[in-house]
Symmetry: D2
């Protein structure tokens, strides 16, 4: 057996970063990853070790954090660099990483969107507009169930948003089958645990604000909206996407409403899902009347899909669940790596 | 000032019953209520006092539970009897209560539905079908913001369901204004705390099943569906109603999706709400972009309403919150009582 | 009936401040309170109204926040000023308030401690040391069940800490009875909801840090330690006090361990509690084997006390519960006000 | 590489049973386990597959449940049978299993206690008292960190209780070192998540009873008391053990109070722990002032230990955390299996 792949994680101190670190440490084909702090990251400049920030990791020999240095990455033979950074940091540093010959999986929203009008909500500042435009074009949207043909050869994989993953995977089979009445509009009422909102303490993530509560936010204006319409080839007016903040640490459930073009049976609907996901390791289709719940996919890399069809055979409610830190972030990043290196999609994700 | 009203609560040991008891004990125009156990209620036949079941009540002189007896109610001068009982128990006992000259507020679903096809889901067994049919007709749906003209003289008030309250109050102003494109369908994605599922322990209400979870249930088949379509004069095919179980003890948030007939402004939408609820004490309308959250109406009798209009002026997302045990049950029952006796709607509900 | 008391709340935007505001608004003998922001309080300089910060309050006519001004307080006829401020702010401003002839109830730790070694942990900076020393001496520790003789005439009431309230009320009757073997040491293992940690967002109060967790903190070093030993006349070495952070928004439960001097019966133990708290409205003593739980006193001003005696009659476990924002803060402040103005202790606290 | 070990799990449908099943499925040295329902287990007689009860497991080829049959176990070559059953079921069936030549790891309390007075609280009914007495004597208490000499050759391993594991591992090093003043009494104030109370729905495990709550229970009378005193060679009067029910699904934190015989330093205390657990894979010792929290060991097989010593060097607070379903149950069972078959203690537990 040959040498293991050498990887590094930039921004290992966020929720997605630490989850990714955990997965890489257990991955049978990957070396212990280098953990990099980014310039101006306060916590990591003070902490020398990831276990100082996440004591849950302690006692396994240490997880030293080091500053980002291209020459060190080269010396160590790192081939693949994961960005678990805020989107602007990714937007600034990814071009440099690629220019050093590294392959990149970026967990931020920096390179997910092809259309300018969808990127506006991020307000990116590009120092080199031409390069940024080129990379935007070249980046592959890293949803393995849709883009497994492009991911293996990609040098820059834009890892999908957590909400977007849950919505796209639920809708793709039906849109491909052409049974959705898009003119009547598609609605995704999505609910996420708090880790999706990031580790930064603020009034919205304070325990007392979240516990015993539920709130809708960013209605008609959430950043993941663009990914969904681009990947599903919808117009913005065909989709309403409403995120909600759940009083749980992690997990996403999207309840999605579509009208069908013609009268359909539950068996037909199920068959579209089964066909589309035949051989796909990380999607589970639930047979009616069983519906996914957040707990079922928690701590796994599964996207769970279920549905309920009205008696009239025309109105369909889809339920889609993912763990926002796994299939919605770090797990999917590993799945993308697996494809990039020609490994089985399930490697390191059991 | 005259004598205080004498009331009794049948089924005081459920979540709604005990909440109602609390409210009545603090109500300035009502005597300390009689607390009645119903035949075959195990817990109460063993417990002599409500504080044995709800120690939170202890130390205030006691809350003795007594068996239901029509003659005792008469002797004690009880005028108004609250039913906080399962629907079949209400269906069986309410006719008797009315025949003894009592006025009734029934918190169950027994008398809410006028149309037979909507009642089917309850599977009522009526020993005297003619009387049941007559009472069904006579019963007033106790949503004070809609039916304040009929409630004052009603002898039987059918207190609305918790989900139904949140949905009807959000939609009524817009449907009255005639701005909703009903043909495109209305969707209510509703989420409720666990007390809405009742006090009976079962696999679904076990802490480990609910915590860190979210689940949809009874899609296309929930009992409150009928109330909503009847009160809003919708056809069943015009509404999709999807309930979800939240990992919180109490509170409901409904996210409701409607298409408008023509391009509208936020100011117009707000004005329909403000007009409809002018002078209504227990509805709060939130100005855009502020949206209600479950915490805001928790432990109050408010229904909080907010909305978000798409830039196209045609797609509208409504958010409606109630405390399922107050505006969704016991608080609304008190509000109905206040109307039945000509008192201010806010009495005893601060 | 004469005019209602005029009050003001300084620091109404914290958890205790808003809870106090709610109570004062409902208090039958008190005018609508003035709500004051303190110098340099960011949130309130931006917000003009308390309902902007706590939307749960919205829709009742508004709760305007105004800057602190001694002359305005005088013009408005304010007699009593509540400080719901950080301890250093109280330490700085209370002397001024008293010099303007106001009576003060201070919810912070600024004036609770008589002994200098206990105050050290606060690190107070006094601009006028002599006045501070005088006020420290003059301040009355506002635990009504212990100090109801001094509170009525006090000009400065130091409202007790939440943990301290739960521990002192549990131990006072037994220490007074002289049955505790103090040499063997008293242990209070206390657990609190997150609102006790304040509204400031930080890594410790982030939802993801608290949910599904329990942690001990400030072992041997918590600020409330001093209050407990001073009020119970213990030496510091006789008490171990260990606070824990619970994944709930509010509520405290202290489990307290004592050894008794001689063999005792449960009936005797109960009698010491019943005697000590005879006629006390806001303490509930639970008879063995029933024990208080956090839910029982939640949203009430009660301190609930229960106990369990070992078969040997010598080892005693006490359980004491309070709502940290009510009996542990704002409710107790109102109870103190009631005593200061000669009203019933239960006024405004039902 | 030789054949994998064949195992079976009796009672796979409880929380510990399903956790154990998960671990065995991932264990590299063990075959896919047989999953057995026990006589009169309602859920499993209806369910044909474990994934029907725990949908989280679905989609991996199925987990068929079969009735217990000694001949089938023999035919299949099963060597090791795990009992994840109620204690009386274990007490009845384990003798039979052993007589069929199987080795047994029993997760219940059936065989943990050597002393009759400690067993009384279980009220065992033994059909064959002589055999039961013999097995009681022969059973090895399966705490690998203490009994790794006896476990490898044991035919019957009594897997420890979850609370007991957390308490024994915290105290064993200090008692061995002889530095504890046992006469002054040891106190363990322990807190557990709800899965520790089992899957049976009842009033105590209802979400609404647990959420936003904390309660002490079984004070002076919990079943795990006996294990702790037996394993630590304490007299019952030397230990107070108070369990509490936390509003979280899983995890245990024990706060333990001891007095030391003489003045000691934190470094000394730490050294006793480090020595005792040198080379032990599944205990992590935290250096002062860092303390374990429930989250740190959640979903791991670690027992995390930390401490805080008073300035007087005589009073010590220990904090011990385990995941009650892993190190407190299924994980420890696998650790025991690893010892029984001469494998590394960490196999299958990463």
């Amino acid at each position: 057996m040959g040498a293991k792949l050498k990887t590094a994680v930039l921004g290992a101190t966020g929720y997605s970063g630490v989850e990714l670190t955990r997965l890489l440490l257990r991955h049978p084909l990957v070396d212990k990853p280098m953990l990099l702090s980014r310039p101006a990251e306060k916590e990591t400049t003070e902490a020398a070790n990831l276990a100082d920030i996440f004591p849950a990791l302690s006692g396994n020999g240490g997880y030293p954090l080091q500053p980002l240095s291209w020459s060190t990455l080269k010396e160590q033979g790192v081939e693949l660099l994961f960005f678990a950074t805020p989107h602007q940091a990714s937007r600034s540093l990814v071009p440099e990483a690629l220019s050093h010959g590294l392959r990149v999986v970026d967990l931020s929203g920096a390179w997910r969107l092809k259309q300018e009008q969808n990127r506006a909500v991020y307000g990116f500042k590009d120092s080199d507009a031409a390069t940024a435009a080129e990379l935007t074009k070249k980046a592959v949207y890293g949803l393995p169930e849709l883009n497994s043909d492009q991911i293996p050869s990609a040098s820059l994989v834009a890892n999908p948003g957590c909400y977007a993953t849950s919505v796209i995977l639920a809708l793709a089979p039906l849109l491909k089958a052409g049974i959705v009445d898009r003119e009547r509009g598609i609605i995704s009422d999505s609910k996420s645990g708090v880790s999706g909102a990031g580790k930064e303490p603020n009034a919205r993530t304070h325990f007392v604000s979240v516990a015993d509560n539920l709130s809708a936010y960013a209605v008609f204006g959430h950043r993941h909206m663009g990914e969904i319409v681009e990947q599903l080839h919808l117009s913005a007016s065909e989709l309403i996407f409403t995120p909600h903040l759940l009083p749980i640490p992690r997990g996403i459930l999207s309840t999605i409403y579509v009208h069908l073009n013609s009268v359909t049976t539950p068996a037909e609907v199920e068959s579209y899902f089964r066909e589309f996901y035949a051989g796909k390791r990380w999607v589970r289709v639930f047979a009616t009347p069983r519906l996914p719940e957040i707990q079922f996919s928690l701590n796994t890399n599964y996207c769970d899909l279920g549905f309920c069809l009205a008696e009239d055979g025309r109105r369909l409610v889809l339920v889609s669940c993912v763990d926002n830190l796994l299939k919605g972030a770090a797990g999917q990043a590993v799945q993308n790596m697996n494809l990039m290196y020609g490994w089985g999609e399930e490697e390191g994700l059991h």
